[in-house]
């Protein structure tokens, strides 16, 4: 049993407030620092990530020097206050956002569920959306074809599978979306608060 995820000194810097009003000036400063071989001047802030106190700097480390390893077969949970950086960490793990410093090493096929129903197109039917969403999550056409019946079965919206999803109730929408996600078979699955969907009957299945 070796580690399948290894997180090494991951840090992430965010800029607070409006993005875009001073960025040209900062870009130029950053470029000058780079040319002169100095460190990025905006990385020097030493603020902690405290949501409820006002900081002096416009920049904040959402994550600072995070280290952990996840073993094969292990379930790893991350808990924390709002704004503590849980989702940020998961975003980095699923390659949606890049870290400012540090590195992550992963072994095996990764699938991430930061949200269910990503890429659902309201005008397309349930059937089309299953294929589209599956493809976005990294499944191949054959895989989805093979699992289609069980996806529809799991979602329990068989009757509406050829109706555009914009006519679905929000519950049905989420059921279908989650059903697709549940049929992913990755070696590493990254999940962010998506299990809290559907009614009681559906949650039992999940």
């Amino acid at each position: 049993m070796g580690a399948v995820i290894k997180v090494d000194n991951i840090s992430k810097l965010y800029r607070l407030g409006m993005i875009g009003n001073r960025t040209i000036v900062e870009d130029i400063n950053r470029l000058i620092a780079k040319i002169r071989g100095k460190e990025n001047p905006y990385l020097k802030v030493g603020e902690t990530n405290q949501r409820n106190t006002k900081g002096i700097s416009d920049y904040v480390w959402a994550l600072k020097d995070i280290n952990f390893e996840v073993e094969e077969g292990q379930r790893f949970g991350i808990i924390g206050k709002n704004g503590a950086g849980k989702s940020t960490l998961l975003k980095i793990l699923s390659r949606v956002a890049g870290p400012t410093k540090g590195s992550v090493k992963l072994k095996g096929r990764v699938a991430s569920l930061l949200e269910v129903g990503t890429g659902f197109h309201p005008e397309l039917t349930g059937r089309d959306n299953v294929f589209l969403n599956g493809a976005i999550l990294g499944m191949t056409q054959e895989e989805i074809k093979g699992k289609f019946d069980s996806i529809v079965d799991f979602s329990g919206v068989e009757r509406y599978v050829d109706t555009p999803v914009k006519r679905y109730s929000s519950g049905m929408y989420v059921r279908l979306a989650f059903a697709v996600a549940a049929h992913l078979e990755p070696e590493i699955l990254i999940v962010d608060e998506v299990l809290a969907v559907g009614d009681a009957e559906f949650q039992k299945n999940a």
Binding site: R95, P99, L106, L124
Partner: protein, 285 residues
């Protein structure tokens, strides 16, 4: 699950990887997604319209009629002896593909922000799917153009001479797609930070059309301004297209080579910047 040794990582995420790490293999791995996007674009565009796919026909026909009336009948711009309808339509159909490619790909990051923010796939898949789905639209419009062409040809219009250069059409398409994609992804990469560029594109494309022989033949240009139009990489493409299907205008291999080089350079720069931006765009868009 296969037992791999401790150092065999399949993926490593680092702050900024090199300029030349293109993930082209990844793009190939996600080809199913590419096709799904194409299908989505095609199916969803004209949902809940009465005429549906007929809009593909209606749009160029109405534009052609307008151009014929305004530029042909009112402004009386020369068409090199070609029936004005065919002349304008050939320009509109071919220019349309380029401008659609450019405008669609230039909003890649902004329109897909919600998908890109939630799941990883090679971002290049999105603009590529645009290029392909627009190709279908072009195919339909080309068919329409050929119908008109055939009609004129059968009725013995002596000025219309389709010739062997028609075989160059796929090559012209590659050039247009490459240019549209190249410029498009450069703009889309820049718009993540500075939205100004999206405004530039929306009217820039319109202005660029007037710097391309879409509504006038090259021969009608005063010598003084010719170099401006010839510096435009689209000029040779539109001109060759028209020459191939209608037999009027010029075919100049040198100009076409110029367009080719221009396309390769633009596309390379585009992919380079796009690659760079796709890793950080979530924090800036």
């Amino acid at each position: 699950m296969s037992k791999t040794s401790q150092d065999e990582w399949t993926l490593e995420i680092k702050p900024v990887s090199g300029w030349f790490n293109f993930h082209l293999k990844d793009v190939w791995r996600y080809r199913d997604l590419l096709m799904m996007f194409v299908r989505r674009d095609f199916v969803a565009v004209y949902k809940q319209t009465i005429l549906g796919p007929f809009w593909f026909f209606l749009q160029p026909v109405l534009t052609t009629i307008t151009f014929t009336v305004v530029f042909g009948n009112i402004a009386r711009i020369s068409t090199d002896g070609i029936p004005p309808l065919l002349f304008y339509m050939s320009g509109i159909v071919s220019w349309g593909y380029f401008s659609d490619c450019l405008t669609r790909t230039s909003s890649t990051f902004v329109t897909n922000a919600n998908i890109f923010g939630k799941v990883y796939f090679p971002r290049l898949v999105s603009p590529l799917s645009n290029i392909i789905s627009l190709l279908m639209k072009f195919g339909i419009q080309l068919f329409l153009f050929m119908c008109f062409l055939l009609y004129y040809w059968m009725n013995g219009s002596t000025n219309v001479n389709p010739n062997i250069y028609i075989l160059l059409t796929p090559y012209l398409l590659i050039l247009m797609a490459g240019l549209g994609l190249g410029f498009g992804i450069i703009v889309s990469s820049l718009t993540t930070k500075y939205r100004d560029f999206s405004f530039l594109v929306s009217f820039g494309v319109q202005l660029l059309m007037y710097a391309t022989p879409v509504i006038y033949p090259l021969s009608a240009l005063p010598e003084k301004y010719k170099w401006i139009v010839l510096a435009n990489p689209m000029t040779a493409i539109i001109d060759t297209f028209r020459y191939a299907f209608l037999g009027a205008g010029t075919f100049n291999p040198g100009n076409l080579i110029y367009s080719t080089i221009f396309m390769i350079v633009t596309l390379s720069i585009g992919i380079l910047i796009f690659n760079r931006v796709e890793k950080t765009f979530m924090d800036t868009v």
